[in-house]
């Protein structure tokens, strides 16, 4: 019975066999990990955010595990756009699912330069929201005009442009500017800016002092962001990210208005979580009498 249910979704020009995407960061720059994610059932993979030049990221500790999530201050380590181009081309050779190339840039021309290395990818995702790397991310999101300029510059290239938003700053304003500038997909949300102090060391734990909070802790904030975006831009494609640990959070995102769902922190428990989320969605759809995953997108808004 569940076999007949349509799990496929189309986001911009990307055909996804199910709504589950591996979000940026957790697969690093490893083609091998991307392949494992695909084998585990992911419908698309996102690269680590690439900057133009290579970055080594923040010193260790870069991660702090909480009971209800993670704090990370990776600091956008990446080998730079040229090397990432090689990784993406290699990934496209060995993967059948779409590869989304995440980029971080502080100016339109820089963004285009980066993206030009990544034309083998199926989409460009502008990370407008990384909260712990100076000059990137949250700082560009606090300037909605700049986000719009970058998006419109990227639209000169032949790839769909995803814009990944932060829950800090004015979500709706940035989203509307991005959409006006031609963005094809909104991705919400990135991590929340947080930190932890060890009381015995009397010091911030993370090498970068500040870090990004992810996992279950941010899920209610992420659902709210997706719900608000859907309300403001009904029908516009949204990828919900933040605290998906089981099919239930994934379904919550879709009811809130996401067409697809990204997963990052949950992979710390192993890749098997991907399969269990996808089959959980399938079972839910069957139990609730849906014929396709698309039918449930945005349903929580119905009065």
């Amino acid at each position: 019975m569940a076999g007949g249910i349509g799990l496929g979704v189309r986001i911009a020009s990307l055909d996804l066999k199910n709504p589950l995407i591996v979000a940026s960061g957790v697969l690093g720059v490893s083609v091998g990990l991307m392949k494992r994610a695909e084998e585990a059932g992911a419908a698309a993979v996102t690269t680590k955010t690439t900057t133009l030049k290579e970055r080594t990221g923040h010193p260790n500790p870069v991660i702090y595990e909480l009971e209800y999530g993670l704090l990370n201050s990776m600091g956008l380590p990446n080998p730079g756009a040229s090397e990432m181009g090689t990784v993406v081309r290699r990934a496209k050779e060995v993967l059948r699912v779409p590869v989304i190339a995440s980029i971080g840039a502080a100016a339109p021309d820089e963004a285009v330069k980066i993206a030009e290395h990544l034309l083998a990818a199926d989409a460009i995702e502008l990370n407008a929201s990384c909260p712990h790397a100076k000059g990137y991310g949250i700082e560009i999101m606090s300037d909605p005009g700049l986000v719009a300029e970058i998006v419109s510059a990227l639209k000169s290239l032949p790839l769909p442009v995803f814009v990944k938003l932060s829950a800090h700053g004015d979500l709706r304003l940035v989203a509307s500017k991005a959409i006006e500038a031609g963005a094809d997909v909104l991705v919400a949300i990135n991590t929340l800016k947080g930190m932890a102090i060890n009381v015995w060391a009397r010091r911030p734990v993370l090498g970068g002092v500040y870090g990004g909070l992810s996992g279950p802790a941010i899920h209610p904030v992420a659902v709210r962001a997706v719900y608000e975006l859907y309300e403001e831009f009904p029908g516009f494609p949204i990828i919900g990210v933040g605290g998906v640990e089981s099919w239930e959070e994934a379904v919550e995102f879709m009811l809130a208005g996401a067409s697809a769902v990204g997963v990052a922190s949950a992979l710390r428990r192993g890749f098997e979580v991907i399969g269990s989320i996808v089959s959980g969605i399938r079972e839910y759809l069957a139990n609730e009498g849906f014929a396709s995953v698309r039918e449930m997108v945005g349903l929580a808004h119905r009065v």
Partner: protein, 265 residues
Amino acid sequence: MYLLARVERVSKLCENVNEYLLRLDRKLGSKPGQFVMVWMPRVGEIPISVAWEKDSLLKLIIARKGVVTSYIHNNIREGCRFFLRGPLGKGFEITQGEALIVAGGYGAAPMLYLASMLREAGSRVTVALGFRENRNVMLVEEFEKLADRVFVATEDGSVGFKGQLTELVSSILSSSRYDIVYTCGREQMMERVVRMAMNAGIEVQASLERLIKCGIGICGSCTLEPQGLRVCWDGPVFNGYKLIQVDDFGKWWRDASGKRVPLPT
């Protein structure tokens, strides 16, 4: 969520290698081959293998190498604190029978713990240790207490067999039958040991090092291609049959940016 530990005793094992006996605020519960991340506030955080554990006592063996290890050697005395998280990774699998342990330099650290577990499981244990010079030799007596036979190789011949550890291993393997080989140390050495064992049809497990950042399999920093094996999560201990399919084994490392660069020698 760091475990808090107090240094009970610092012992010098040889030039540039110290042993730290720690008392934890709770039991770690590790297996040989697993590691912990050691955080030195204001300095850094590095991976260190569990050298031994019992109840709430833990031994770490730390070689002076760069920033964090030098800080530890220079500053950490009895009574000081260690901040730890772990145990991380997958350790050695205990195979009963005739076991050969091959360890180079501070690669000997996790092997003491392994040897004692093997003995508990009823295995016979032979140990082959390799060091550069006399002043690097360590832990020989400790292994002699635990193991059935201990061989030592030094490159300058000052102690035991003169020459490469791999030469010693080659002769050990040809003179006796083993069910399993365990190895830890420089990767180029381990690569040769893995091939020798595989060629001889013997199961082999090796413990690898890569740049560990998150330590929990979530950042990709330590991955091996093309399989996407994470040293911190799928390893650090891998089986020989997996390793010989890894392009990076003995050849490639990832730098802090994630770029694949030649393995440091």
